[in-house]
Symmetry: C2
Subunit: 227 residues, 2 copies
DNA sequence: AACATGGTTCGATCCTGATCGAACCATAAG
DNA sequence: CTTATGGTTCGATCAGGATCGAACCATGTT
């Protein structure tokens, strides 16, 4: 009716319990098959199929068929950003759907936000990088400084490779549990990958939670100090 | 069903055409009465009343009764942030609801994003402040530097007053037309107010568009240069 | 007091859209 | 080829919710 982009379409797509559950399940970053998503949302395959079709044509999901399976993933980092924004606002309302349990505690400590690290540990990573002078604000957004680039390369991040892609290196992402920004973008993604490669952390199956080993957490805290 | 904040409730509230139109109308920052909103959404007073009730109990709107009128406004800057996030994503989909017209052009150039400046001019303001070293990244988010504070005070912003409030001074806000960040927060709000007080710009009635006078725009460009 | 205007409540209607059963297609495994 | 599993299509059902007409309350104006 009025001017501007069609926000209703998007919001309505997210505003259905079944679809929202699917989307949240995909926030973990791993692609899931249609039946897995159906189970996740607690509905039958048929309805799931219909929902997935709508989500895909709405531009929220990307689909890849592999053999007789159909793997779904979020279409874009932008989609994850929208979901996090909604999560963030909903969290301020205090409208939690379930009581915070132990699993919730793990999520608050460290979880994967699409492909980068979020939660308490994610915030620590971000603030440490900022206060060390490794990240700075430029006219193009947040960028690693020269020292930051050197640090990242030394830590094992292939900055040359990341630079070739057109995706933004850094990206602020509002953390719904901490109400602070954490680091997204290709650098955030590469760092989480590196943590896993180093054996510091692993992603809990069927969940967004990320579990650090004791030695991994110690190394993490040493590498990313906070005053 | 699953863990996390209740995102469905919020999304479903936004995912109705009538309600979305009301919310977008309120993005202008000026509070509107129930009947004005009803007219804006193209529905009768009764249905508007029902919608407004839901939006309020959903935490998206704030209500203030004044005489026999009932003025509605967005509950919070957070709500505006969510809406902008949705607008931003919807814009990438290219799903515009109407063809871009002259009014749209004005909106792209300068518009009000809740209470701060957005659009081309908003981006210019932001990048100018950043490249002048007036804004920098800290562990607490984006903050004015010492030089930045001096500059803002000299420009007529009462920084002491802003510091007393608990609202964040600066806040990045994703601009849906430019796909870049612009400046929100109490500083962004104060700057827009200052532009209006100086007679540089005024808000177009019934719209989010902001119109700069020729001399105002010249002064703006001189005060906030971009290399 | 009479009237007008802003808003709400109630009830009835009506339609979109979520859901599932059943049948059907596609791919892989035996 | 037969069988199992992943996924879609079709049709029917059903519920929630958006909508409005009508009546009603509240506050201001003449």
């Amino acid at each position: 009716m009025k001017e501007g982009p069609d926000i209703v379409r998007i919001a309505a797509l997210i505003g259905d319990p079944a679809r929202a559950n699917m989307l949240l399940a995909l926030m973990g970053g791993t692609a899931l098959t249609a039946t897995e998503l159906a189970h996740e949302a607690g509905i039958t395959k048929q309805t799931a199929s219909a929902h997935l079709g709508k989500l895909e044509s709405g531009g929220l999901l990307r689909q890849r068929k592999q053999g007789r399976h159909r793997y779904f993933a979020l279409a874009d980092d932008d989609v994850a950003a929208v979901l996090e924004a909604l999560l963030g606002f909903a969290a301020t309302q205090g409208q939690l759907r379930t009581r915070p349990g132990p699993r919730d505690a793990a999520m608050r400590k460290a979880r994967v936000c699409y492909h980068h690290l979020a939660g308490e540990m994610g915030i620590r990573l971000y603030t440490s990088l900022v206060s060390s002078g490794y990240l700075a604000l430029t006219a193009d957004g947040i960028e690693p400084t020269e020292e930051g680039r050197r640090f990242l390369v030394a830590f094992g991040v292939d900055m040359a490779e990341l630079g070739r892609k057109k995706a933004p290196l850094c990206r602020e992402c509002l953390d719904w549990s901490e109400r602070r920004s954490h680091l997204g973008g290709s650098v955030g993604r590469a760092l989480l990958q590196r943590f896993q490669d180093l054996g510091w952390a692993r992603q809990v199956a069927q969940s967004r939670a990320v579990l650090f080993s004791p030695s991994g957490e110690a190394a993490f805290r040493k590498t990313f100090p906070v005053d």
